[in-house]
């Protein structure tokens, strides 16, 4: 649960980079000048150049085999700065899905473009109001024909390639890969309140010969594995954001004076902050436990992923609401960054499952 020296160095370099090139100011600029991508392509190219894309990819596939604990720390650093990058969609969701569900030939033919940053890939998961672990919203309605709609696809408009789960005609799970520019892929950009770009994507009698089915051995398992890993990395990003916000809040209380004293001297406020800190370290511990579990054989990984995501959801939601309140009037101004954290927390909360969904899964896994 602690970083080795190499992971620490890599984390430090990445954290520096986020702070200089992908900070909250950068998010504000992206927000004000809506670009098609929702993230800065030059920043992304630099991150890929630094080796970020291949960080958890096995060496035999041209990656760094750096370990998930290392990636989690970097996700946490990006969370501190609310850096909008395709870290989750491209590096975790798409690359992992390709590796876990693709045949050796498919991995060999596509992975290099992902690792080099030549292409941006994403995965379309949700079809309805809530995350359901991947649902049947896009179906193979007849042999070779897809119909249905996906929502909240991260980087859905910028991506060059889309992966999505599809219910096949024989009702098995299929994982379909399609170039975004293929005719008949209808992409409608949506901008959510976290300032990032998502998309609704629909297919109407789409001809599957314009894409390809992933042909690995165990699609169900690969899909599950990918989602669990993504939940854990997103949870790591969220605890990073919550930590930054709690630190900023304590800092604010230590500077702001009322009644002739610093707000931080009031016990009522101290106890609230101390409780938030407890929730933060609990969530972080759940996240670190889950990350190192991926690195060590992934036993009971679904329960650990649900523990991490549920704790991170509840922690970030609570910390961000409390941060607004503790900042007083300033907390509801757009000038302060607090609101950006608040909004991101609610979007991240829905991505890859709310706490209700995860507690329900956890209880099911525990047999009750």
């Amino acid at each position: 649960m602690i970083l080795n020296e190499e992971q620490q160095l890599f984390h430090d370099a990445m954290a520096n980079f986020f702070s200089e090139h992908a900070s909250i100011d950068a998010l504000r600029r992206l927000r004000e000048e809506p670009s098609k991508t929702g993230f800065d392509r030059e920043v992304w190219a630099n991150l890929v150049e630094l080796g970020l894309a291949g960080i958890v990819v096995p060496e035999e596939h041209g990656g760094l085999s750096f370990g998930w604990l290392g990636l989690g720390a970097i996700a946490g650093a990006s969370g501190r700065h609310l850096s909008p990058t395709p870290l989750l969609s491209h590096i975790v969701l798409a690359q992992e899905l390709l590796l876990n569900c693709g045949s050796a030939e498919q991995v060999a033919s596509h992975l290099p473009a992902l690792l080099s940053g030549g292409e941006v890939w994403t995965v379309a998961i949700d079809g309805g109001r809530f995350f359901q672990g991947g649902d049947d919203s896009v179906n193979e309605v007849a042999e070779g024909r897809l119909t249905g709609r996906k929502v909240l696809v991260p980087e859905g408009e910028a991506a060059d390639y889309l992966l999505l789960p599809v219910r096949r005609t024989d009702s098995r799970l299929g994982v379909f890969a399609v170039p975004a520019e293929a005719e008949g892929v209808h992409i409608e950009a949506t901008r959510m309140m976290d300032g990032r770009q998502y998309a609704n994507i629909s297919f109407e009698e789409f001809d599957t010969s314009d894409g390809e089915w992933l042909e690995g051995n165990s699609l169900e398992r690969g899909w599950e594995l990918t989602l669990n890993r993504a939940m854990i990395v997103l949870a790591a990003e969220m605890t990073g954001s919550a930590r930054e916000l709690l630190e900023r809040t304590v800092q604010f209380l230590s500077e702001r004076e009322q009644f002739g004293v610093k707000l931080a001297t009031f016990q009522a406020l101290q106890h609230r902050c101390a409780k938030l800190y407890g929730e933060l370290e609990l969530a972080e511990s759940a996240v670190l436990g889950a990350l190192s579990a991926i690195d060590h054989g992934e036993s009971e990984i679904a329960a650990k992923a649900s523990l991490a995501k549920a704790m991170a959801n509840d922690c970030f939601t609570l910390v961000s609401s409390e941060a607004v309140q503790l900042h007083g009037g300033m907390g509801v101004t757009d000038e302060m960054d607090v609101g950006l954290f608040l909004k991101r927390s609610r979007v991240a909360n829905q991505l890859l499952g709310t706490s209700d969904w995860h507690r329900n899964r956890f209880a099911g896994l525990a047999g009750f």
Binding site: T265, Q270, L282, R359, A366
Partner: protein
């Protein structure tokens, strides 16, 4: 393991050492398991009820012959105090080995071989602050279960504001003369010795005039009186000192330097209390099984009430997160990269969660959970109710949750205190 070509993967010295260590630890685990299987009688592998706990001391009485055999087997190997040095009656185990022992005992359901506050609290503080002579005299007697200890910290007028304590120890040649009273002294009426904080100077700021004394309860002038609690038990006593003469060799640490010893000891008390759930009398059923019994379960074992299911899941998940936090603290310590803020959270989080569980269980019992003594209620349910009431003390004893939050705000978050009195 992959073999690329014919060249074996080079192994660094550090990796080699780690591998060797892991191998040794695995060997230790295997030996330990067969020793535990051979020496821990089956009756000592069931959830322990209070009347069957093994407490040490001059009045020591074993609840059963099996309990005696289990205690003696552990005592002879130093497993009553696994991580203390062997020369003081401990097991001389490394941190890793002690952890393996704990895990293996938990796995087999072995009961703790000895219960004693000297073991949990005084011992670890003596290892830091005791002289060689004091360590030899007291640690061995603790580890061997020969002397049972009580804690004399709080006073009727000094609870959360512990440093305002007034029990006085006056210098009288080769002795101190102690006068005053201590409260919440756990099982003082059954203890042989008591470790006390006493005032040796009232002319200086309050923390700087306190000393740490060990007092034999058989000394002239010591008396105790039990305090009935809301659980119907009398775990705690008030203890009175009336001109009690205490030899100066029983002073631990510097004269007037008792506060440092007290804080070291409190660290262990809080650590112990954070995990008190593991030592407490366990109901025979897990929370989930109890829920299945008390409310209708659907086919396949899912609970009929989705609200209850969610509440139980929430509790179990928090429990697991607390375990991960404890593991994180351990791993950091082992690597020499401790984050000193994290241990400050354990008592507050651990005891709060135990109470949350107690509340869930009590509610689940319904009308069966409304009495501690009525014969219409089964004995096991009455015990659960008593445990619920008893556990209310967990967030008070050893520093209240409010004091813990003060400490977290100040030391973990760096928030300034208004009057700076903690």
């Amino acid at each position: 393991m992959s073999i690329q070509g014919l060249t074996p993967t080079p192994v660094s010295l550090q990796q080699y050492q780690t591998m060797t260590e892991a191998h040794d630890l695995e060997q230790f685990r295997l030996q330990l398991r067969s020793w535990l299987e051979a020496n821990c009688p089956p009756s000592q592998r069931k959830a322990v009820v209070q009347s069957e706990q093994i407490w040490g001391g001059r009045q020591r009485q074993f609840p059963s012959e099996d309990a005696r055999a289990w205690f003696e087997a552990c005592r002879d190997r130093g497993y009553t105090a696994p991580d203390w040095p062997a020369e003081y009656g401990g097991g001389g185990l490394s941190d890793d080995e002690a952890r393996v022992l704990k895990k293996e005992m938990k796995q087999l359901g072995c009961r703790p071989p000895l219960y004693d506050q000297g073991l949990w609290m005084l011992g670890p503080a003596l290892l830091v602050y005791g002289t060689e002579e004091q360590k030899r005299e007291h640690l061995t007697a603790i580890a061997r279960g020969e002397i049972r200890w009580a804690q004399g910290y709080s006073e009727p007028g000094a609870g959360s504001d512990l440093a305002s304590l007034k029990t006085r120890a006056e210098d009288d040649g080769d002795c101190f003369v102690v006068n005053g009273t201590k409260i919440w002294t756990t099982k003082a009426d059954e203890a042989d010795w008591i470790f006390c904080l006493v005032r040796t100077n009232d002319q200086v700021p309050k923390q700087q005039g306190i000393s740490f004394l060990l007092i034999d309860m058989e000394s002239e002038g010591v008396s105790t009186s039990p305090i009935p609690l809301i659980s119907g038990e009398s775990e705690f006593c008030q203890t009175f000192f009336d001109n009690v003469r205490v030899p100066k060799k029983n002073l631990i640490g510097e004269l007037h330097g008792g506060w440092a010893v007290a804080k070291e000891l409190l660290k262990h008390e809080r650590k112990m209390m954070a995990t008190v759930g593991e030592m407490a009398e366990k109901p025979n059923l897990s929370l989930v099984d109890l829920a299945r019994q008390c409310v209708a379960a659907e086919e396949g074992g899912a609970l009929g009430s989705s609200v209850l299911r969610d509440r139980i899941a929430r509790h179990l998940m928090r429990e697991q997160a607390i375990e991960r936090l404890a593991e994180r603290i351990f791993i950091q310590g082992k690597a020499g990269q401790s984050d000193a803020r994290l241990p400050l959270l354990m008592k507050y989080l651990g005891t709060s969660e135990i109470q949350a569980k107690d509340e869930l269980v009590l509610e689940l019992l319904g009308v069966e959970g409304l009495s501690m003594d009525d014969p219409s209620i089964s004995e096991s349910n009455r015990k659960i109710v008593k445990q619920w009431a008893f556990d209310k003390a967990l967030t008070i004893a050893g520093g209240t949750s409010e004091i813990q939050l003060n400490i977290i705000a100040k030391r973990a978050l760096g928030m300034p205190s208004a009057g700076d009195k903690s």
